[in-house]
Every structure is written in structure tokens, then in C-alpha cells.
């Protein structure tokens, strides 16, 4: 596929135009703010995680960014709903491999995660990798209950 079309697949453009789960939860159990100092992209993640079952009951994001970072965050919130925290951590690793390493982990072949494969095209655009990883890194910080604003880091 033309690399441009694989980067801006219809699903990415759609999630950019109509971000899912946009907004913030108040009150929430988990929260983190991500920032990419290079391009100014910002994302605020708020989550409600069940006390007993450690399941992500609700998740929302808000912020500003390019189509890649908005779509990545939006796709992420869809994939995470009702997911146990441990599975969410596994998903972070899988998406890392997809975007940063350019491989397609088996986990992403599962039906419920298949849409995330739309992010694979980013691998061909090194300057844009950080845009796609920002939301996922912020998620990790939220789950780790890091309260400080985190900066996007190429090591993800």
C-alpha cells in the first residue's frame, strides 16, 4: 500500500474526526497527563478502575494533537473498556511492538483488538512514532499512578 494511505487509513481519519470517549471523568480513580514537548501534543487520560476486579470500567481522554495522536488515543479507549488492568498492560506492550518495532504481535490478531492494527503504518514514519505512542505511555503512567505530567519518550 502507498505509505501515505497506510498512515492515514480511513479508520484513523474517522477517529480523528469523531474521537470516541472524548472528555474527562470526574471523579476518577486513575489520571495522567501526557505531553509531547516536541510538537505540543497533549492528552489527559481519566479512568475508573473497579476496586475488586481491577477492571477498567470507564475511560476517557481529552487534549489536542494531530490525527495520529487523536486516533491512537481514541482507538485505545475503545479497546480498553472492561479490560482487566493486567491485560491492558499486555496491550501496551503489543502496541509498542506494532508501532516501534514494526511487528504484528499475535495479541493484535484477536478480533477485539484488530482495529488497532490501523496504527501499523506509523512505523514507516519515524517522525510520527511519538504521536502514536503518547496516549499509550500516558496510560501506563495512569495505571502506575504516576501523578506527574509525563513527556513522550522515544523508548516508549
Amino acid at each position: 500500500m502507498n505509505p501515505m494511505l497506510s498512515l492515514y487509513q480511513e479508520i484513523i481519519l474517522d477517529h480523528n474526526r469523531h474521537p470516541r470517549n472524548f472528555g474527562h471523568l470526574d471523579p476518577c480513580t486513575h489520571k495522567a497527563q501526557g505531553f509531547n514537548p516536541l510538537c505540543g501534543d497533549k492528552v489527559l487520560l481519566t479512568l475508573n478502575v473497579g476496586d475488586e476486579d481491577k477492571q477498567i470500567l470507564e475511560i476517557a481522554f481529552e487534549g489536542t494533537g494531530c490525527a495520529i495522536s487523536v486516533a491512537s488515543a481514541s482507538l485505545m479507549t475503545e479497546a480498553l473498556r472492561n479490560l482487566p488492568v493486567e491485560d491492558a498492560r499486555g496491550l501496551i506492550e503489543a502496541v509498542h511492538d506494532l508501532i516501534v518495532e514494526g511487528t504484528v504481535p499475535e495479541l493484535l490478531e484477536e478480533e477485539r483488538y484488530a482495529r488497532l492494527k490501523a496504527l501499523a503504518g506509523v512505523h514507516e514514519f519515524p517522525a510520527r512514532v511519538k504521536c502514536a505512542t503518547l496516549a499509550w505511555q500516558t496510560l501506563r503512567a495512569a495505571l502506575d499512578r504516576k501523578t506527574q505530567e509525563i513527556s513522550s519518550d522515544p523508548r516508549f
Binding site: M4, L38, G40
Partner: protein, 419 residues
């Protein structure tokens, strides 16, 4: 030795941009299968063959350290280095070549002044005045000075078009002001600032003036004596010269009073453990082995610019800017950020519904290099309530045909995102 001849002497009248382009080997590059359209000249400019040749010649035939050896090669390197100082003096119309200090770039030059001038003249309660549209390198060194000294920053606002509000400037610049530092041309908006008016306001209050000429020095003729500024800074790499060489012009009256900033070799007269005496300017401000090759390249770049003629370059770039602005205004959903009456060849804009980074990536696929982001001027970008902008900045080798390709690609971007 005389300057090497230009490969393409410009025609006596008019401006033959096609011949100018032949001087820049990188312009033959293809990007993603398309001829490169380089529209990021505000970040750095491409280099003509004569500059590349000067670097090669220096390392091939002339390399030695300066101001040290008694042998011929060292004398030759010293001569080249001092020739560069003289070339800059002529270019900026400084009084004496002692007023020209070589540094790494505009950033280092501002840091030198903030430190040296700051140490000598800035005390708690004093004020440093900047404008709202400065590059980070003309903000942060002053903030650091304020933190050290207890001085305070004051900011002259701009209006919606990107013009400095001179009435407010007159209210802000006052008896406590020690330094007024502002750009000659804004890198984020292209505004040409009212440098004469700001300088008069500052001098009327006994404050010194630093002009950040990073974006001006290769686009408009600079005469530091006419400007009457105390300090003027610029970077070689934005003037078709090499990276790592830049200039501080410091008016002669300051040379004695400013203490050295960095210590080391070359900046001393005598060194004893109980007492060191410093060399006089400019050596006092040039500690350590300088960028000799960079200076040789800068000489070649300035000769190149002078041969083409700054007024003809300015005219050509102004044509391009007007043409690009008019064509951009025809595009629906594109908003130009920075519309001051006096503008240099910078076109900053946002596309409704498309983030600047996406615009940048899509244009790159067509071989068009633009900058997307905050352009190291976060306060400026915030002022216009946008998260970032796309910036096309023109140079002496850009063409109307390239503007057409840029505008057509931009129209396709909007189509792709909105339909």
C-alpha cells in the same frame, strides 16, 4: 588571496532564479520521487557550492590553529579567520572589525550578552524588556539572568496581525529598563519589527538594545550603525553559510566595559595563578579554538549574498511571499497567522480541521519541506490560540513554480481530511 569566482554571476538586471538554483547542489535532490521543494529556510538555509568549496579548501589546504603558530600555515589560517571578521564587518556595516565576535550562533551570542552585560549592569529590581513574539533563544537567557539577578522580565504585546503595539512599548520601557531585546524579523510570523522606533524608545530611557537578526540578516540589508543598536546577533547557517558559526556585533563603546563570559585560551593576555589579564575585544569573548572552517564558509556565503545583492534578493522573496499569500487566501479553511504590513518571507498558517503535523507529513510526501510545530516560539503560538502552525519560509532560490506545487498539495491535504 581573492575570493573564488562565483560559478553563476547573476545577470546585470533582474533576478535569474534558475541560474541561482544551479549554485545549490542539494536542490537536485528528489524526495519520495518528487523534486525537493525546500520551504524551511527559516530553520536553516541550503548552501551554495562556493560555501561548500570554501570548507573543502580550508580543510584541504589551509587547516591550522589560529593566533598561535609562527609557521606559515597557522598564519594563513589566522588570515582567513580575520578575513571573515572583516567580511562580516562590511556586511553588517560595523565601524571596526573589533566589534565582530565569532560564536556558535545567535543563541550563543544572546547568552554571551545576557551573561556579560547582565553581570556588569543588571541588578535586582531592574527590568529586561522583550516582545511577545521572540524565539526561545531570546527569552530563556534573559529569564536565567532574571533568576540570577532579581531583575524582572516585561513583555511588549503584539496585536492580532502580529504587529508590535508601540504605544504599549512606550509605557513598558521606562527608567528601570536596562535592556530591550527583540527580533528584527519574527521567525514564527514573519513580522518585520519597528526596530528603529523600539531602539529610540530604549535609548531615550538609557537602556541598551539587542536585536536578534537571525531571521533578518540574509533577507534584508542590515546596517548596524543606522540601526544604532548596541548588539546585533545572527547565525551563519541561516545565511547560506555553515552551521556552528554565528556573530555578535557589539558596539565599540561596550567592548571595554563588558567582562568576558567564558575563560580559556585565546581570550587572555597573561595568565598567572594569582592574576590573569584579558585580551581586548574581540579575542576577550572568543575563548578556545574557534570555528575556523565555519568562518571561511561564512565569508563565502556573505560574498555570495553580496554578489546577488541583498535588495534584489529581498525583492524576489517579497514577490514570492505576495504570490503565495494571495494564492493561499483563495484556499478555503486556511488561516494565515501573522499578517502585519511589513513582513519577511515567512508564511505561517493553520488548516481548519487538519493538525499542522498532518499537513507537514502529507506535504513531505510530495517532496515539500515545511516546518510544523511551535517554531521555538511557544508564547507566540499561544498568543494566537492555536496548538501549532505550519510554516513555509522562502529563500533566494525558491520559485513561483514551487509556490504552485505547494498550494496545490495543500489543497489536496484538505480534500483528503475533510471528505
Amino acid at each position: 588571496m581573492n575570493a573564488p569566482p562565483l560559478r553563476t554571476p547573476p545577470p546585470p538586471s533582474g533576478y535569474d532564479v534558475d541560474r541561482v538554483r544551479e549554485d545549490f547542489p542539494i536542490l537536485r535532490t528528489r524526495v519520495h520521487g518528487h523534486p525537493l521543494v525546500y520551504l524551511d529556510n527559516a530553520a536553516t538555509t541550503q548552501k551554495p557550492q562556493s560555501v561548500i568549496d570554501a570548507l573543502v579548501r580550508y580543510y584541504t589546504e589551509e587547516n591550522a590553529n589560529v593566533h598561535r603558530g609562527v609557521y606559515q600555515l597557522s598564519a594563513l589560517a589566522t588570515e582567513r579567520y580575520e578575513e571573515a571578521r572583516e567580511a562580516v564587518r562590511t556586511y553588517l556595516h560595523a565601524q571596526t572589525s573589533n566589534e565582530i565576535v565569532f560564536l556558535r550562533g545567535a543563541t550563543e551570542a544572546i547568552n554571551l550578552v545576557a551573561n556579560s552585560f547582565g553581570q556588569a549592569f543588571v541588578r535586582a529590581g531592574d527590568e529586561i524588556v522583550l516582545t511577545e513574539i521572540e524565539h526561545h533563544s531570546n527569552i530563556v537567557p534573559w529569564q536565567m539572568l532574571c533568576a540570577r539577578s532579581g531583575a524582572r522580565l516585561r513583555i511588549i504585546p503584539v496585536d492580532e496581525t502580529g504587529e508590535i503595539n508601540l504605544k504599549q512599548a512606550a509605557e513598558i520601557i521606562g527608567p528601570k529598563t536596562r535592556m530591550v531585546a527583540f527580533s528584527h524579523v519574527s521567525n514564527a510570523l514573519g513580522t518585520i519589527l519597528p526596530v528603529a522606533e523600539l531602539t529610540s524608545l530604549a535609548h531615550a530611557q538609557g537602556a541598551a538594545v539587542l536585536i536578534d537578526g537571525a531571521q533578518a540578516a540574509s533577507h534584508i540589508a542590515v546596517d548596524v550603525r543606522r540601526l544604532a543598536c548596541d548588539f546585533y546577533v545572527c547565525s551563519g547557517h541561516k545565511m547560506y553559510g555553515p552551521t556552528g558559526i554565528g556573530v555578535l556585533y557589539a558596539r565599540e563603546r561596550w567592548l571595554e566595559d563588558l567582562p568576558p563570559w567564558q575563560g580559556g585560551g585565546d581570550m587572555i593576555e597573561t595568565v598567572h595563578f594569582d592574576k590573569t589579564t584579558y585580551a581586548s575585544a574581540p579575542a576577550k569573548f572568543e575563548a578556545g579554538t574557534p570555528n575556523i572552517a565555519g568562518a571561511c564558509g561564512l565569508t563565502a556565503a556573505l560574498r555570495y549574498l553580496q554578489t546577488l545583492g541583498l535588495s534584489r534578493i529581498a525583492h524576489h522573496e517579497h514577490d514570492l511571499l505576495e504570490y503565495a499569500t494571495a494564492r493561499m487566501r483563495e484556499l478555503e479553511g486556511v488561516r494565515i497567522i501573522g499578517q502585519s504590513t511589513h513582513k519577511a518571507a515567512v508564511l505561517s498558517f493553520v488548516v481548519e480541521g487538519v493538525h499542522p503535523h498532518d499537513v507537514g507529513t502529507l506535504l513531505d510526501q510530495d517532496g515539500i519541506a515545511v516546518r510544523a510545530g511551535h517554531h521555538c516560539a511557544m508564547p507566540t503560538i499561544e498568543r494566537y490560540r492555536v496548538p501549532a502552525t505550519v510554516r513555509a519560509s522562502f529563500g533566494l532560490y525558491n520559485t513561483h513554480e514551487e509556490v504552485n506545487r505547494f498550494i496545490e498539495a495543500l489543497a489536496r491535504v484538505r480534500e483528503m481530511f475533510l471528505t
